[in-house]
């Protein structure tokens, strides 16, 4: 059981969603985050004040999956998020200690497997 975190470009988020659905990964949450990953800084000017925008808008996917779904999830994130330019994002895979489905109290692999799947 792993927690896969993918940080991607906002404009690629829809493609990532599609790729995840195709890979039958159907449980995840997303959030809007700001971050920096080595891409070119944007320079913006507001009435004479010129600033370097150090942070880029990103979308962060959090996907808790059983072991057999780790690679498909990573593949889907890469497929959906890759443009080939600096700033496409990162994927982090973390060990997951416990998972509980609140509605039923299902634990761990049960909890991260969509209903009617196991």
């Amino acid at each position: 059981m792993k927690l896969v975190i993918g940080i991607v470009r906002p404009e690629q988020a829809n493609q990532v969603l599609e790729a995840l659905y195709r890979a039958e990964v159907k449980g995840f949450s997303i959030s809007r985050v700001q971050g920096h990953g080595g891409e070119l800084d944007r320079v913006e000017t507001y009435r004479g004040t010129t600033v370097k925008m150090g942070l880029e808008e990103k979308v962060r996917f959090e996907v808790a999956v059983s072991d057999s779904f780790v690679q498909p999830t990573i593949d889907a994130l890469c497929e959906g998020a890759r443009t080939g330019e600096v700033g496409d994002g990162k994927i982090f895979v973390l060990p997951l200690e416990r998972a509980i489905r609140i509605r039923t109290g299902d634990e761990d692999v049960e909890a991260v497997t969509p209903v009617g799947k196991s």
Partner: protein, 434 residues
């Protein structure tokens, strides 16, 4: 009264006072349109969309003062006017022929019409057209399309001379912008995500507020198009209240039937559709018929919106449906329901004058065809010199950052002040740390 403050002979101070206010009201419609349009696009394109309207104020005012006004309102040539008023030559305090207001006021009032019409067309190309080519397009379009159509309808051109009635701009403003928008959408092409992703309005409150301010301004637009405080202006003013209200009611009903819910963005659209429909007809039809016009005008515009979103034509903000279609409907409506008892000018078919309907049909064919063809050719020519579109990557990033170097909703987090000593030096890319 001293000679300095005395009005020039033939100028009516009451009429002039109203027209000064009406001009300001119509100018406000363009930022209102900017707000309306900005709410309808995605947040990353907010500023660019609004800026196209601001650009229309800048560019169209200059071209209008230079040659546009003269081509529209100098002389009675069939197709275009002359150049005797170019660079405001002879535009002074003397009353404009046929009116009781100084020609300067008449010029300014008409300028605001040219401005908003240019801004309207931008709705077809937002979220992907580059700003530079838009400026060029706005300048040329205001002369080649708007001024020509304005001459046909208002300046003594062939339609007006032939008897076509257009009170406040169904021909140049509404059909002119609507059918040009269709051409522009076809030449510029669809947004890269069009039809593949849901491209949703990012702020419905902007849309409603923009529509409300447009309606407010429209009282100057229609109410000022009689160039006086006389009966036609009063009639058009009140009809500007009645018609959009009826459009709203019918739009609510259509929304209820189709989706079981009355939508806010639908309501904002209905306000615009109603205002557009009464624009050509304002001073020519009775309040009762104006209410019917509002109710009926909802139907074709609603249908065009439903149809358009099922096609590959990314006429992004539905200028054709809201302006082209409703404008055309209003122009034709005059042909049936105009009433001498109310307008003192002409009857429509219903009152025994079938010829009026033919005059209206002629305008409903000629103006769309000219607007579409001229805009299509103009954009093709500009595209040959400078690409109209941003790249797919720029489109993904959003036009605000790419075209203006600003964002509408900037948080300021992570922003580093570039000190003047750096000379605004563009930082280089940091090597990717992978």
């Amino acid at each position: 009264m001293s000679a300095v403050t005395a009005a020039v002979a033939g100028v009516d101070t009451g009429d002039t006072a109203w027209m000064l206010v009406a001009t300001a009201l119509v100018l406000m419609m363009t930022p209102a349109l900017g707000l309306f349009y900005a709410g309808l696009v995605r947040s990353k394109n907010t500023l660019n969309t609004f800026m196209m309207c601001v650009a229309a104020i800048a560019v169209a005012t200059v071209t209008w003062a230079a040659v546009g006004y003269s081509l529209a309102f100098d002389g009675t040539g069939d197709i275009v006017g002359g150049l005797n008023h170019a660079f405001l030559d002879g535009v002074d305090f003397a009353p404009r022929e046929g009116t009781t207001i100084p020609e300067m006021v008449f010029f300014a009032f008409q300028a605001t019409f040219c401005i908003i019409t240019v801004a309207l067309v931008s709705g077809a190309v937002v979220e992907r057209m580059r700003f530079g080519p838009f400026l060029v397009f706005a300048a040329l379009w205001s002369i080649l399309v708007y001024a020509v159509l304005a001459h046909w309808a208002f300046g003594g051109g062939w339609l007006q001379e032939g008897g076509t009635l257009d009170f406040a701009g169904g021909i140049p403003v509404e059909m002119g912008s609507g059918f040009s928008a269709l051409a522009a959408a076809l030449v510029v092409g669809a947004r890269k995500d069009y039809g593949r992703q849901a491209l949703l309005p990012h702020n419905a409150v902007y849309v409603l507020l923009g529509a409300g301010l447009l309606w407010f301004g429209w009282f100057g637009f229609n109410g000022g198009s009689g160039f006086s405080t006389g009966d036609p202006s009063v009639l058009a003013f009140t009809n500007t209240l009645l018609t959009p209200a009826c459009t709203l009611v019918v739009w609510f009903a259509l929304d209820l039937i189709r989706g079981r819910k009355v939508t806010a963005i639908g309501a904002a659209t209905a306000i615009v559709v109603g205002c557009v429909a009464i624009t050509p007809a304002g001073g020519f039809i009775s309040p009762g018929w104006a209410m019917l016009l509002g109710a009926l005008a909802a139907l074709p515009s609603y249908a065009v919106i439903v149809w358009r979103t099922r096609t590959h034509v990314d006429e992004t903000l539905d200028v054709l449906a809201a302006h082209g279609t409703a404008g055309l409907f209003g122009i034709l409506f005059i042909g049936f329901f105009a009433e001498v008892a109310w307008n003192g000018v002409s009857d429509g078919l219903l009152y025994g004058n079938a010829a009026q309907l033919w005059d209206q049909v002629l305008a409903a064919i000629a103006a769309p065809v000219y607007a579409f063809v001229a805009t299509f050719v103009l954009l093709k020519v500009i595209n040959a010199v400078m690409p109209l579109r941003a790249s797919a990557k720029e489109e993904a990033q959003g036009m605000d950052v790419v075209q203006h170097g600003e964002e509408a909703y900037v948080t300021g987090e992570g922003a580093i002040l570039v000190s003047p000593e750096d000379g605004g030096q563009i930082p280089v890319a940091v090597a990717d740390s992978r």
